[in-house]
């Protein structure tokens, strides 16, 4: 028998107690218990009639306030309100994170949209170096190089020997598009048009129209600042299968070449001085020989600087177009109900992705709040029980 279990006579006595309290008749053996109940009840404090009236009035006032009181009742408690508020804040934060991190696109099977990814890569080929005293802004750096003549670098004494105060970055991207064989030619034409519109050139191209095996490839050169815009424009022509973007910092190569050029230009100036003061024809011939070698070296270095600057100024984009059922083509061939169904499915996928992220963020907060609330309640109840023991 456990501690809580009562024997039959004890249970019978408790049942009799309930009958006594309900003013029902009990057997003679329970009259003593009835007397005990009567004594306890008779000795219990009774409400003062004046207080009873005051209490009536207070509660009546509560009820009279009707709307306000009712509103308070219907309104969730402060605790619930706080929980709901923190939940909303967490949801808003989660939503912002989801939107800003591109989960909307990443959560689906579609390839990453270039228009969303390109802003993450600097649009400028020359970026400001965080060196002390460097005052060049990205815009200023771009204009300085874009506006300067490549050939002027070595020929101007001022620019010789001056290293870059900004980074020189070469960008190289590859884009693979998919379209229907029927629209292959049209897409190819529009790729060329979009490139030229942005001041770029088609360095090489290959378009083969062979039914399902149709394909096209392009090697494009475009001003680096317009690469993002071109990728976005091309991505709208067909479904994006893949996008690969690389960047290579060539600042150190450029600076090293620039330093060598400066040394050689200085050496040429010294030789020219020596030539002017040369006493013999042999000396003059020897100096002239050295000057010729130096001139060839300077010319080569100028060409290398031109090439590096061109790399920083011009980005390359390799575009491949393959035949396939592009999303746009599929959408066009599908009926309106199928399209609507796919759109709804896509929306549901995105909602589910958001809901999962929100849940992942909100759940720990909610569980923590619940644990805190539970803990506070337990502590308060224990304190109450302690108060009861000392009552």
């Amino acid at each position: 028998m456990s501690r809580d279990e009562l024997n039959a006579s004890e249970r019978e006595e408790l049942a009799a107690l309930d009958r006594i309290l309900a003013r029902e008749p009990v057997g003679e053996q329970h009259l003593e218990l009835a007397a005990l109940v009567d004594s306890v009840r008779a000795g219990a404090p009774r409400m003062d009639p004046a207080f009873a009236e005051r209490l009536d009035a207070r509660l009546a006032a509560h009820r009279r306030r009707g709307g306000a009181a009712g509103a308070r009742v219907a309104r969730p408690g402060i605790r619930r309100l706080a929980l709901a508020g923190s939940g909303l804040v967490a949801a808003a934060v989660a939503f912002t994170i989801v939107i800003s991190s591109g989960v909307l696109s990443g959560g689906t099977t579609h390839p990453p949209a270039p228009a969303r990814t390109t802003p993450k890569i600097p649009a400028l080929s020359i970026l400001p170096r965080k060196a002390p005293g460097a005052t060049t802004t990205p815009t200023g750096a771009t204009s300085a190089f874009a506006g300067s003549s490549v050939g002027a670098v070595p020929s101007t004494n001022l620019s010789v020997g001056r290293s870059l105060s900004a980074r020189l970055v070469h960008r190289d991207s590859a884009l693979t598009l998919a379209t229907s064989p029927a629209s292959m030619q049209s897409v190819a034409n529009r790729i060329v048009a979009a490139t030229e519109q942005r001041g770029g050139v088609v360095e090489s191209s290959n378009v083969a129209i062979q039914g399902p095996a149709s394909h096209a490839s392009f090697s494009l050169a475009v001003p680096t600042g317009r690469l993002g815009s071109l990728i976005a424009a091309l991505s709208s022509l067909a479904s994006v299968r893949a996008l690969n973007q690389n960047s290579n910092d060539i600042t150190s190569s450029y600076n090293a070449e620039q330093a060598r050029l400066a040394d050689n230009v200085a050496a040429r100036a010294a030789l020219l001085k020596a030539l002017a003061t040369a006493a013999t024809a042999t000396q003059q011939a020897s100096i002239q020989k050295q000057l010729n070698r130096l001139a060839a070296r300077i010319a080569a270095e100028q060409r290398e600087l031109d090439r590096l600057l061109g790399q920083g100024h011009t980005a390359t984009l390799h575009v491949s177009v393959v035949a396939g059922a592009s999303a746009k083509h599929a959408k066009a061939s599908a009926g309106p109900f199928t399209t609507a169904f796919h759109r709804a499915l896509h929306a549901l996928e995105e909602i589910l992705a958001i809901a999962l992220v929100v849940l992942a963020i909100v759940l720990p907060f909610a569980l923590t709040a619940l644990a805190l609330w539970w803990g506070a309640t337990a502590v308060r109840q224990r304190a109450r029980e302690r108060a009861m023991r000392t009552a």
């Binding site: 809580d4 000795g43 009820r63 009181a69 109450r384 009861m388 023991r389 000392t390």
Partner: protein, 176 residues
């Protein structure tokens, strides 16, 4: 015992049900609270607070978790214990708030003596025993309701009640 299934907050009968609960329980709640606190003024404040709190929270009442009466007594108990915590006052005797209406002068001597004995016996009990007797005898709660208020199982509430009655008999020198 009063049985009210639920406490709707709106619609016809919402106010009447709370009113019915109030009318049937106010005196018992006061008696219970006053016996716990042993202070008439504090008991009045706590009783009023308990009913106001119950009125405000009636939307939160869940019929699956007990009867309105047990819910009300639980609110009153918490309010009384909070008051006790606040005051940290112990040891006062029950007769300190003896009601004039319960004076024993008009009763025959045997009855008066027995009631005095029971009152003093009750006052000498452990607070937990005294409380369970008050909830049962004064509050007229069923064992299930008692369990709900004391946050224990129904069988545990029955055992506690029976032992408390036995102790009361013992201190009062009552024999069966």
């Amino acid at each position: 015992m009063t049985v009210i299934a639920a406490l709707p907050t709106s619609g016809p009968g919402a106010g009447e049900q709370f009113e019915q609960l109030y009318r049937s329980s106010a005196a018992d709640v006061y008696a219970y609270v006053a016996s716990l606190l042993r202070d008439r003024t504090a008991a009045e404040d706590v009783t009023a607070l308990a009913f106001e709190r119950a009125f405000r929270r009636r939307a939160l009442f869940d019929v699956r978790r007990g009867t309105p009466r047990s819910w009300l007594f639980a609110i009153a108990r918490n309010a009384a214990l909070d008051e006790l915590r606040k005051r940290r006052r112990t040891g006062a005797l029950l007769h300190e708030i003896a009601d004039p209406s319960t004076e024993l002068e008009d009763l025959d001597s045997e009855l008066a003596e027995r009631r005095l004995l029971v009152r003093e016996g009750l006052a000498s009990l452990e607070p937990r025993d005294r409380e369970v007797i008050l909830l049962k005898f004064v509050g007229r709660l069923s064992n299930a309701e008692l369990a709900r208020v004391l946050r224990c199982s129904e069988s545990n509430a029955g055992t506690r009640l029976h032992r408390a009655i036995e102790r009361l008999r013992e201190v009062c020198g009552v024999t069966r």
